[in-house]
């Protein structure tokens, strides 16, 4: 008797909930669902917007989940509740591909372009001229003994001049993303490991003991020379302006947009520019991918048209709108090859076989 009003309110709220829930479950998904890397996000969203304007399809929903998080959602399985496309700022890992295949997902790989990673400082300071070896020596946790013997010592370098006499006598201070970031992964792999390999005896370790090799080349020092400045690249740009002695690590599009505030360091004689990244002469650039769920291509409305838009010359071409947004296009033949692969929807087999 006493509890009636409570149970009434509870019952009516539950009723509302179930009705809403069953309605939602019945409605078929009429938009494309895209997840994945925050680096690819600006480009997929650009295409999504243009696509929805040019066609009658609904605007795809693009979530920014990070490459790894995106892969997890994408490989969950096949069906309306799962994502159709995921963006990645690195290639899919063998383990991820296996997870996908186990859940019955056929993956179509689409390389869409490149992204440069820059090491920049404030315009008020002098532009740095670095090699990948300098970067490795300045930032690694352990470096080859300066006396020339083939042993490792904890990184003793305090200033850039210690690393290389040609560099200025300023304290090493690099602001960069935390380990969860794809930009950090790519920076470590391309810049640090690139420099690390220059030492013959370390490179020789790669075939003998891969883990030891990775530990040497991929571990960043933790004594304050490398500052984890968060995932937000705009924040790093602003910190660089406030502190002209520091260098920052971020994606090329942020350099492009803030060219009045910061300048990209020259790496191995190449300045990070649109052209030097496109022709691969700038050494620290990474490929960007989107991965498509083959089973969804004919089921979710607009998938084929969306992919056609993404791989059209006006989007990813040299003068396309994605280039305007800071994505570096692939060479022409590669574009044709990838576009053809997308049209045929060739699923990715074993990673070892390709490339």
């Amino acid at each position: 008797m006493n509890k009636r009003p409570v149970s009434k309110i509870l019952a009516s709220s539950l009723a509302v909930l179930t009705v809403a829930a069953s309605q939602a479950a019945m409605a078929a998904r009429d938009h494309i669902s895209i997840v994945g890397s925050s680096t690819v996000y600006p480009f997929t969203t650009t295409v999504a917007e243009r696509f929805s304007r040019a066609t009658q399809f609904k605007t795809p929903v693009v979530e920014s989940t990070g490459t790894g998080g995106g892969m997890k959602l994408f490989c969950q399985g096949v069906g309306e509740g799962t994502a159709d496309i995921t963006g990645a700022s690195r290639r899919i890992k063998q383990s991820e591909l296996e997870m996908c295949n186990e859940n019955g997902v056929d993956v179509v790989e689409v390389q869409v372009g490149y992204d440069g990673i820059v090491l920049a400082n404030a315009r008020s300071a002098k532009r740095y001229n670095l090699s990948r070896k300098d970067i490795f020596l300045a930032l690694a946790k352990e470096v080859p003994n300066p006396d020339g013997s083939e042993t490792l010592v904890a990184n003793p370098y305090k200033t850039w001049k210690d690393v290389n006499p040609a560099l200025p006598n300023t304290r090493i201070e690099v602001l960069g993303p935390p380990p969860t970031s794809g930009t950090r992964d790519a920076f470590v792999e391309l810049a640090m490991e690139g420099g690390c390999k220059k030492f013959g005896w370390i490179a020789a370790k790669k075939s003998e003991d891969k883990n030891a090799y990775k530990a040497i080349c991929h571990n960043i020092r933790e004594d304050g020379a490398y500052v984890e400045a968060g995932e937000n690249d705009n924040l790093i740009v602003n910190k660089l302006v406030a502190n002209p002695d520091a260098l920052g690590v971020f994606g090329f599009s942020f350099l492009d947009q803030n060219s009045d505030k910061v300048q990209g360091s020259v790496i191995e004689g190449e300045q990070p520019t649109f052209d030097s990244i496109a022709d691969q002469s700038y050494p620290v650039s990474r490929p960007l991918f989107i991965y498509v769920k083959k089973q969804h291509a004919d089921v979710i409305p607009g998938m084929k048209q969306f992919l056609a838009e993404f791989t059209s010359e006006r989007a990813w071409g040299e003068d396309g709108y994605l280039a305007d947004k800071g994505m570096i296009p692939l060479p022409e033949e590669r574009r044709e090859q990838v576009a053809q692969n997308v049209r045929k929807m060739n699923a990715l087999g074993n990673l070892a076989k390709k490339q």
Binding site: T46, E49, T59, V61, Q257, N258
Partner: protein
């Protein structure tokens, strides 16, 4: 001690009085200093946000003389189908070439075309759709300028001089030329309030996020308020005091302190994976935020019920009312103001949440304004986060402007809490 003369006593008292007054002054001073510090922090925050964000409420626009040439558009009649594939881009470009006839060469033309927003063709399409008789006619139309031009033109007023960045020498020249002849001006940015998100800063707006926030809060309020109040009434008025109710109380207090991301994970597991509700939907967002705000509402509702004097209950019982009548007729109306305040504070907290929404897919790029609780949507704080993370320079001011919108919604909510309390409150 007893032989102290009256004068001595007086002297001692005066001494201690002076000391006590000094202490009181110091205490007051500290209080004023801490308030001053708080006010200063708020002032700095507000001036920073307002100085950065006020630019977003105006937009640079370019006036062009366009001809709705049927041949250029490639259509004969104006109907829905022809409008979708008509070449409005060509018309806009033609208008730009006419305005600057001496532009030649590919790269120069590209720069010329990039003066106006990529949304310009759609402005034209909408105009023609609304007035089909314009076909074949010429008129002057204001278009939103490209975000690079917008940033450059706005920065001309800065003491530091113009931000050239991505605008070339030539483009800057055109902008100056247009500004001199009055074909380029700043206007109020209605787009910011009517559009959803966009990759082009000049077309990006807050509407989709605002509507998403409202829908999410609606679901949250509709569920958490009745459930919370019902739970509070039962626990406070009916439940026996024993170990079980103690356990429940401890758990409720505990839940109020759980980090919000945990609720997001729970929502992902239950609502999306088990009940298969759609991702990115305000319905799921509202459900997750309900879980999060329930403890706050229960705790504040119980406090409100407790503050109703027992004499009211006793008087009602003495008049022969049943316990349910006591609660519904007497206690609940008196406790309502406190409950509403608690609910509004809980809602304000829910409005500012992003972490749990990440897990259920509401951290997303949403262009279309959601029409219902199952449409994909995002919320205001997420929009702020996404814009703050964007490389385009023009998003800096949009970010601050979005913060201003969020703050004003919060101020309205909190002010209404105060107003409701004032209006409904009964004093004894």
């Amino acid at each position: 001690m007893t032989d102290l003369s009256q004068a001595q006593v007086r002297e001692r008292i005066e001494q201690s009085l002076a000391r006590r007054h000094r202490k009181e002054k110091l205490f007051r001073g500290l209080g004023i200093a801490s308030i001053a510090f708080g006010v200063l922090a708020v002032l700095v925050l507000f001036t920073d946000i307002i100085s950065k964000g006020s630019g977003a409420f105006v937009q640079t626009a370019v006036q062009l003389e366009v001809t709705y040439d049927a041949a250029e558009l490639g259509i004969d009649t104006v109907d829905e189908e022809s409008l979708t594939w008509a070449n409005f881009t060509g018309v806009v470009r033609e208008a730009l070439r006419e305005r600057f006839p001496d532009v030649s060469g590919r790269s120069e033309k590209r720069e010329l075309y990039s003066l106006v927003s990529t949304g310009a063709p759609f402005t034209l399409r909408d105009r023609l759709a609304a007035n089909p008789e314009l076909l074949g006619k010429t008129e002057k139309v204001w278009f939103a300028a490209d975000d690079d031009v917008d940033t450059f033109y706005k920065s001309l007023d800065d003491s530091a001089g113009g931000f050239r960045g991505r605008t070339s020498e030539r483009m800057a020249g055109w902008v100056e030329q247009l500004a001199e002849s009055g074909e380029l001006k700043k206007r109020f940015n209605t787009t910011f309030f009517t559009n959803g998100d966009s990759r082009e800063p000049e077309q990006a707006g807050i509407r989709a996020a605002l509507v998403g926030s409202l829908l999410t809060l609606l679901v949250t309020l509709a569920l958490s308020f009745p459930i919370g109040v019902a739970a509070a009434i039962y626990l406070e008025e009916f439940a026996p005091r024993n170990r079980w109710t103690d356990l429940i109380e401890v758990n409720i207090n505990n839940l109020a302190a759980v980090p919000s991301i945990v609720f997001g994970l729970l929502g992902l597991a239950i609502f999306i994976n088990f009940f298969e509700l759609p991702r990115s939907a305000p319905l799921v967002g509202g459900l997750v935020l309900t879980l999060m705000t329930l403890p706050t509402i229960i705790i504040s509702s119980r406090a409100a019920l407790k503050s109703v004097p027992p004499s009211i209950r006793e008087a009602a019982m003495g008049m022969g009312a049943s316990r349910m009548q006591v609660v519904l007729h007497h206690v609940l109306p008196l406790a309502m103001p406190g409950m509403l305040t608690g609910a509004i504070i809980g809602m304000a907290q829910a409005l500012g949440e992003t972490a749990p929404l990440l897990m259920i897919g509401m951290v997303a790029f949403i262009v279309d304004v959601p029409g219902g609780v199952t449409d994909p949507a995002t919320v205001l704080p997420v929009q702020i986060f996404l814009w703050a993370d964007s490389p385009e320079r023009a998003f800096v001011e949009k970010t601050s402007a979005a913060i201003m919108v969020l703050l004003s919604v919060l101020i309205v909510m909190n002010a209404s809490a105060v107003w409701l309390r004032k209006k409904l409150e009964r004093r004894w």
